[in-house]
């Protein structure tokens, strides 16, 4: 019975309202942060950073943003790629057009631009619901895809429509080496995860969830649907926009609109669902599942020296990946985060089964 909350009495509401009220959880998260910030930079390989951890972090951040909208506020969106793109291209323009623009400021401005566009495309949500809204947000996706290709002003008149950034630095520290990039992303992700957690456990978060669970009832107890939905769109697209900036600037370095195509939107939605709707942790689980799992599956035959052709491997990976999605959904329809919490609950009862 290592994992217990019995005996941990709270003597103030402040203590009860901590993010992790259970001591073991606090220790665990402390350890995770320690590993992430200290051990990893010392021990991780370049491949791990560049090909696994950095994309994982950034997509987890985007999934986090999307989860606010879908998981917490119940508005399904398939325009996430678009908001990432808006963030990336806006930050790019701020960076190249304004001399001496610091990266962090450009990143935040990118996020803000995404917010504006997000709120704009969020307005239909006041009328349109569910899958109808989801498909309607595709309008944002296709429109931005098109706009960033067509309006050459956005790409600083690059002939091909692809753009790139260079010489990133934060407070004079260059963000060039994989470790620096990793730590930068990690920090941003931690800050936003904390902010998101705070939002979701405060009045704002409760408004979103109320709208999600039953919007008519929410209105009746005095929640303004307009305000709740639009703030969710705003916060979500801000975070997604920042993730877009990181994806473009830090991960890719040079990109074309296809980097934020509809596939990205779908991918992020899947992360959110498989990870667990309405869970901050879920965004990380989901990103790990969708980003990291295929990479691992891809390499399994290599480890065992099984001679499979690239095509066969890749088809098998597809099939196994698909099967795993179904498997985990059957095991727990509410996502990996729920599976995790059921696991903890069992641990709590352990060694008794019920």
């Amino acid at each position: 019975m290592l994992y217990r909350e019995n005996g941990q009495f709270k003597t103030s509401y402040a203590a009860d309202q901590q993010i992790f009220p259970i001591a073991q959880d606090r220790i665990a998260i402390g350890l995770v942060l320690l590993v992430a910030f200290v051990v990893m930079p010392l021990a991780g390989s370049e491949y791990l950073f560049r090909a696994v951890l950095i994309p994982f972090m950034i997509l987890a951040l985007a999934a986090l943003g999307l989860n606010i909208l879908v998981g917490y506020c119940g508005q399904i969106s398939l325009g996430t790629g678009a908001f990432m793109a808006v963030g990336a291209y806006a930050a790019y323009n701020f960076l190249v057009r304004i001399d001496g623009m610091p990266l962090i400021v450009a990143m935040l401005l990118g996020g803000l631009s995404a917010t504006v566009v997000g709120v704009l495309f969020g307005i239909p949500s006041l009328r349109i619901k569910g899958l109808y809204l989801a498909v309607a947000t595709l309008a944002a996706q296709f429109f931005t895809d098109w706009a960033f290709l067509r309006v050459s002003w956005f790409t600083n008149n690059s002939t091909s429509g692809s753009v790139s950034v260079a010489g990133l630095n934060v407070f004079g520290l260059p963000i060039e080496s994989p470790v620096a990039k990793y730590l930068f992303c990690l920090t941003v992700v931690c800050v936003f995860a904390l902010a998101a957690k705070n939002l979701t456990r405060s009045a704002t978060g409760r408004q979103w969830m109320a709208i999600r669970d039953m919007d008519v009832a929410a209105a009746v107890i005095g929640i303004r649907p307009v305000y709740a939905k639009l703030t969710a769109f705003a916060v979500s697209s801000f975070i997604v926009g920042v993730a877009g900036v990181l994806w473009a600037f830090v991960h890719l370095g040079a990109w074309e609109p296809a980097a934020f195509s509809i596939d990205r939107s779908f991918q992020l939605l899947f992360m959110v669902i498989i990870g667990g709707l309405g869970s901050i942790m879920g965004a990380f689980f989901g990103a790990a599942f969708i980003v990291v799992l295929p990479i691992i599956l891809d390499q399994v035959p290599h480890w065992f020296g099984i001679p499979l052709s690239t095509a066969t491997t890749s088809h098998l990976v597809h099939m196994i990946f698909g099967a795993l999605i179904v498997f985990f959904l059957i095991a727990e329809p509410h996502g990996l985060a729920k599976l995790w919490s059921i696991g903890k609950q069992k641990l709590r009862l352990w060694p008794f089964p019920h």
Binding site: S202, A203, R212, M214, V216, A218, A219, V220, G222, G278
Partner: protein, 277 residues
């Protein structure tokens, strides 16, 4: 209006007998008509609610009781009629505005927020009273945190009052029906409403649980002076705890008065109560 007078006086007398004071009309509904497409849910209905009273609405299934509540708090907009709340005429109004004016309610088919814990559900009831903004909440520092704790204290009072301390952190979806109803009442109470609308709060409960619920309703009415509009099918409950009763049938008002009066009303017996009860 005129023929309401004797009832009101009577009710007042009776209420005083119970050690309470019934005040002026807070809510006045005049000639309300509401229809959906071809279905006439309410036809030309007038009645009022006085400060501090427990006003019941009864009637057969489909009579329009729930629709009436929906009209009062702005979910439905009647095609005809006037609604005066605290003397002011109300035009088309959104539900959240009604909430802001101090009208809270519970629902017939439980409308709790299924994905949230009991505590969070009740906390949403205090939404209108929480003022800190998005940024403050994101930082969760200073004012936002203070506010959160202040309101938590209030909510804990409600939780104590309803005796649901031990399910605080449970997700409401997993609770049995009766407790869900209680939580829903808690959510409405957390808003410290001046007018509380209850739509069949005791459906699906056994006697013991109904007794508890009655106690809560009476205490709210008594301690906080909350005016209550109650829909309920259990005649025992209605007759015992209400000050005045309106009876609807097929969208029409067929009776209005103190419980004894209504119980004796021929139309009401025929349409609703059936043979003696």
């Amino acid at each position: 209006m005129m023929n309401d007078m004797p009832q009101a006086v009577q009710a007042q007398e009776q209420a005083q007998g119970n050690g309470r004071r019934i005040g002026d009309v807070v809510l006045d509904l005049q000639n309300i008509s509401l229809s959906f497409g071809g279905v006439k849910a309410l036809t030309n209905i007038s009645f009022n609610v006085r400060e501090h009273e427990i006003r019941s609405i009864i009637g057969p299934n489909g009579a329009g009781k729930s629709s009436m509540l929906n009209v009062i708090n702005g979910v439905y907009h009647p095609q005809e009629g006037r609604i005066l709340f605290r003397g002011e005429e109300r035009r088309k109004m959104e539900p959240h505005r009604a909430a802001a004016q101090g009208i809270a309610r519970t629902f017939q088919n439980i409308a709790l927020f299924k994905g949230m814990s009991v505590l969070d559900n009740i906390m949403t009831g205090r939404n209108l009273k929480m003022k800190s903004g998005l940024l403050a909440n994101a930082l969760y520092w200073g004012r936002a945190q203070r506010e959160e704790i202040e309101h938590r204290v209030k909510v804990e009072e409600v939780i104590d009052f309803l005796e649901i301390q031990d399910i605080r952190k449970t997700p409401v979806g997993a609770l049995p029906y009766g407790l869900q109803k209680r939580v829903e009442l808690g959510r409405a109470l957390a808003a410290e409403p001046s007018l509380l609308l209850l739509d069949e709060p005791m459906a699906g409960m056994n006697v013991e649980e109904k007794q508890d619920m009655c106690r809560f309703i009476l205490d709210v009415n008594d301690q906080f002076g909350t005016t209550i509009v109650l829909i309920e099918h259990d005649m025992g409950v209605v007759m015992d705890i209400s000050d005045r009763v309106v009876v609807l049938d097929y969208g029409k008002k067929i009776g209005d008065g103190v419980p004894e009066e209504v119980r004796a009303n021929e139309d009401v017996i025929r349409a609703y109560l059936g043979t003696s009860h």
